[in-house]
Symmetry: C2
Subunit: 219 residues, 2 copies
């Protein structure tokens, strides 16, 4: 039987469940009903039950969820019970911000190498690692296993690097450029496109006016 | 008649349409069929037609889309035919990266003030602006109209600042912290949660194994 695919919307809610369950755990709360979790997260209780049922049955009628068990399950579902080797390519403002972010290593994402093409950066230290020449990336990938590559390079450089990474067997690409990488369909890419995000925000600010115009045009 | 709400998935595709149409325009392409656009974007042609029909009828049977007209329409839908005043709160690595990002002002998002609470940062220059004391934020908001606030502060500081911004009438909050701001339901917030994004990537890397386990457990 083929695995059914989980919808993107559900997947994007999983890290939020993980964060909220972590907070509950830190607060010493042992169990929680889907209604309570619903009120905290601003998601309906039935949505929570549906989301979690995609991965098995974790709740018990009349008891709710055991916080620690559910936390561990969501942690496992998100693959956070393993360690990941990340490399960073691109040490501009964003690259530096990503490399210095303290939360990632706490969650098991550990930077193992950092690359740039700027001769003034190469050899410098960033987040405890010596910045390597991106010319040496393919040699590095041939000799070292890498789980994730954070790609924080200018748009025009992203596509070619994406191909090199996928060909070398890097499992996932965390793409901070503003261009869609054209990669084989099975390549795993997570885009953080800040331009798109800002445009989404300006859409939301204008949504009421836009939709009023549509209604007026149509009726 | 009440405006129908557009689904989040559609909204998140709009900036991508805008980017692809901009590229077509730059390449001098005058018209494009939904099939052609589909092949370039990796979205089905019927999805494209459905998405755009939410905002009116832009294509013509047998002709396709006029690139320039559609580009202008999507630009308008995204609210990109206006200028937005942004303030930045938080000048750490991410704040600096956001302030120095060249694409935003090109799209009409112009930084008008920058704040931090670190006395060593206050008075320094960032992206051509003098960093102000966050203590002066409320005074500034009382005297200046602000469309968008980029919130790049530590998690524990985000919630309170979010309330101040919404109360002062800031239209949209671009939240880079890892906490969900608890704001009135009509507040407009766009979250860029890098931790969530990285967890989503690790989910995708592990998805096949996770779903195999679910199938095994259930059958």
């Amino acid at each position: 039987m083929k695995n059914k695919k989980i919808s993107t919307a559900v997947i994007r809610r999983l890290p939020r469940y993980y964060r909220y369950l972590g907070d509950l755990l830190d607060a010493g709360i042992v169990r929680i009903s889907s209604q309570d979790l619903s009120a905290r997260m601003g998601i309906t209780a039935s949505q929570i039950r549906q989301d979690l049922n995609n991965f098995g049955c974790f709740g018990q009628q009349g008891y709710g969820y055991n916080v620690e068990i559910l936390y561990d399950e969501v942690k496992h579902i998100l693959g956070l019970d393993k360690e990941y080797k990340i490399i960073l390519i691109g040490c501009g403002n964003f690259g530096q911000a990503i490399a210095n972010y303290p939360n990632f290593s706490k969650r098991g994402f550990v930077f193992s190498a950092i690359f740039d093409n700027n001769s003034e950066m190469i050899g410098q230290s960033l987040a405890g690692l010596e910045i390597m020449d991106v010319e040496d990336l393919e040699d590095y990938l041939a000799e070292n296993s890498v789980d994730i590559a954070a790609l924080a390079v200018p748009d025009h450089a992203a596509a070619n690097l994406g191909k090199i990474l996928v060909n070398a067997g890097v499992k996932g690409i965390w793409n901070f450029s503003n261009s869609d990488l054209r990669l084989p369909e099975n390549a795993i890419v997570e885009n953080v496109c800040l331009s798109d995000s800002l445009m989404t925000l300006s859409y939301k600010i204008n949504e009421d006016d836009i939709l009023k115009r549509v209604v007026r045009d149509v009726w």
